[in-house]
């Protein structure tokens, strides 16, 4: 990891984002940026087209369990040319958690966004195939939200009988 290249990149981002760059954390090897929600799509396009972050590795959802800006979505980007990783973070409120999709920028966002939706119920506007990825569609809860009990909700899914006596 080259510090000089990293600082140049961050300088470019700072210039482009201006006031909308809310937080910049350099404490843990990989830079962690937090930006305003409205600029997300725009910032992603800039990062890919101008700064060569062509590889979207994963999208991470997190539940902060606070009253405002409850959810966090973190985009893990890699620039192969500059050998850099970058974490781009936006916060989403609890009421009506919606984000613009980035599938039109990185194709690999497809399943990752579906996973975030499955686990946290954050919808991605404009996503071509917004279904749950791991859990069945009949399941009405979002399991990685903090209020979801560890043991699950009994009766939330109709299960087949486990003994042959029935039916």
């Amino acid at each position: 990891m080259n510090i000089e290249i990293r600082d140049n990149l961050l300088q470019d981002i700072r210039e482009y984002m201006g006031e909308d760059l809310l937080e910049l954390n350099l404490e843990y090897t990989h830079p962690l940026l937090r930006i305003k929600r409205d600029r997300l799509h725009d910032a992603c396009r800039f990062l890919k087209n101008t700064l060569h972050f062509i590889y979207l590795n994963e999208i991470i959802g997190a539940d902060r369990f606070t009253s405002e800006d409850r959810f966090e979505v973190i985009y893990h980007l890699i620039s192969l040319r500059n050998r850099q990783r970058l974490f781009l973070k936006v916060r989403v409120e609890e009421e009506n958690p919606v984000l613009p999709t980035v599938t039109d920028i990185w194709k690999s966002a497809n399943w990752n966004e579906r996973e975030v939706f499955d686990m946290f119920g954050i919808r991605f506007e404009g996503h071509p195939d917004m279904r749950r990825i791991f859990l069945p569609e009949d399941f009405k809860y979002y399991p990685l939200r903090k209020e979801f009990p560890l043991l699950g909700v009994p009766g939330s899914l109709e299960m087949p009988n486990t003994t042959p006596d029935h039916d």
Binding site: I54, E58, S108, F134
Partner: protein, 431 residues
């Protein structure tokens, strides 16, 4: 839109009519259901459902394909049949307690998963691991890579039609299991790594076994190259099958050997060296074709490189030394201390009860190059012994996403080979 298959026109069999009819009947009753579109008089378009219970899907992957004759026009993957909610469980366990769960993610290379978790926690908690422990981890990680690739080789060639290979690769895997049995005390789910080091040092027997394996395995590998590289059937079956270019490969987010087979030398061991990989002399095998044959070559060469790395590790490894951090606040004390001193027992109890507590508000990511690609853990800490959020970046998930694109336009008979070549493990993908 779809209607059941009462009006499928089948050519009446000429010979063995009863046998044929019984066979068709049994096909209808079987789990693979065939539905025919009514608006298509020649009945060339159909929807085929493969899996989740299918021996070639390497677990519980379900593939839904729309066919035009023999060509897959589009397909959808249905995952989640092995979803166990590992990330939710992680939030309710201490970091060390979570270790055995990582064994069950990519269950073909449990050691890599253990090490990935340990390195991520050590990074967020800011710990230094003794040199000998790191070398032990490196050796075992490379053995796990060989073990995983051996299973891929056996099953992939079995999917391509040659059964005996499976037995040969499993004979070698058996040796690796014996090694892990000797090193960790378990054959399959090892959980040998500890946060801050490893559980126990190599025994002389274990070391001798690994050296023997390192001596003998390259010959075995050479033999396999000899039988496959110029094998007409094998090459014809794999050449140009499931091909993808490097731009598309990056765009759909492939990982590991599948990505390197398209020509992108993205290997975390060189991209962002962890442990002592920066001091090792090894190559990152790449190909440019991006098809199944290229993936085969990449993985085969990777196994040879792993053997080289293990050899170098043995040369550079300190002969003696601690294998765990000597700080009872950060890592488990040794069993000697636990059994014979009061403090040791208390510390052991504290480690089990609370474990290591990274600083509150810390967020960090650490990835290793697992056999199937980049395996990373993103941890958010709230200052307690449990992670606030632990996200697993699993390589099989990325590769399966790519599979959805790769399968489009392929022949249906190649599905099985392409899945075998991508080497997904559902435990890893479904979390």
């Amino acid at each position: 839109m779809f209607q059941s298959d009462s009006n499928i026109s089948r050519k009446k069999p000429t010979y063995f009519r009863e046998h044929q009819e019984a066979l068709y009947k049994s096909l209808e009753d079987k789990h693979a259901t065939v539905e025919v579109d009514d608006s298509d008089p020649l009945a060339t378009r159909m929807t085929l459902n493969m899996g989740p219970q299918h021996p070639a899907t390497h677990g519980v992957l379900r593939v839904l394909m729309e066919l035009d004759g023999e060509v897959i026009t589009k397909c959808r993957l249905d995952t989640g049949y092995l979803h166990r909610g590992i990330e939710k469980m992680a939030e309710n366990k201490t970091y060390q307690e979570f270790m055995p769960y990582t064994d069950r993610m990519d269950y073909l290379s449990p050691y890599s998963n253990n090490v990935a978790l340990c390195l991520a926690v050590e990074k967020i908690a800011d710990m230094e691991v003794p040199g000998r422990a790191t070398y032990i981890r490196m050796i075992c990680c490379e053995l796990a890579r060989i073990s995983s690739h051996l299973l891929w080789l056996g099953t992939m060639i079995m999917d391509a039609g040659a059964l005996s290979f499976f037995l040969w690769t499993f004979r070698e895997r058996e040796k690796l299991y014996d090694i892990f049995d000797e090193v960790a005390g378990h054959r399959f789910t090892v959980s040998h790594s500890r946060i801050g080091g490893v559980n126990n040092d190599f025994t002389p027997v274990a070391e001798e076994k690994i050296r023997k394996f390192v001596r003998e395995f390259p010959d075995e590998l050479k033999g396999w190259h000899k039988i496959l590289d110029r094998n007409r059937i094998f090459v014809d079956r794999n050449n140009g099958v499931g091909a993808i270019g490097h731009e598309e490969g990056i765009a759909i987010g492939l990982a590991g050997p599948s990505l390197r087979a398209t020509g992108i030398a993205y290997d975390i061991r060189t991209f962002e060296p962890y442990m002592f990989y920066d001091q090792m002399d090894f190559m990152v095998p790449t190909r440019t074709e991006g098809d199944n044959l290229a993936r085969y070559y990449c993985r085969m060469e990777e196994m040879a490189e792993s053997i080289r790395i293990i050899g170098q590790c043995f040369e550079k490894m300190p002969k003696k030394g601690p294998i765990r951090v000597d700080d009872a606040k950060k890592s488990y004390p040794s069993k000697d201390e636990v059994y014979y001193s009061m403090e040791g027992l208390i510390h052991d109890f504290m480690m089990t009860d609370t474990g290591i507590c990274p600083p509150a508000g810390a967020e960090s990511y650490h990835a290793i190059e697992a056999p199937k690609g980049e395996l990373g853990f993103y941890i958010q800490s709230d200052g307690t012994g449990h992670p606030w959020r632990l996200k697993i970046n699993s390589p099989s998930f990325s590769n399966l996403q790519g599979l959805e694109t790769i399968l489009d336009g392929e022949m249906i008979a190649d599905t099985v080979v392409v899945i075998g070549g991508m080497d997904p493990v559902m435990g890893d993908s479904d979390k």
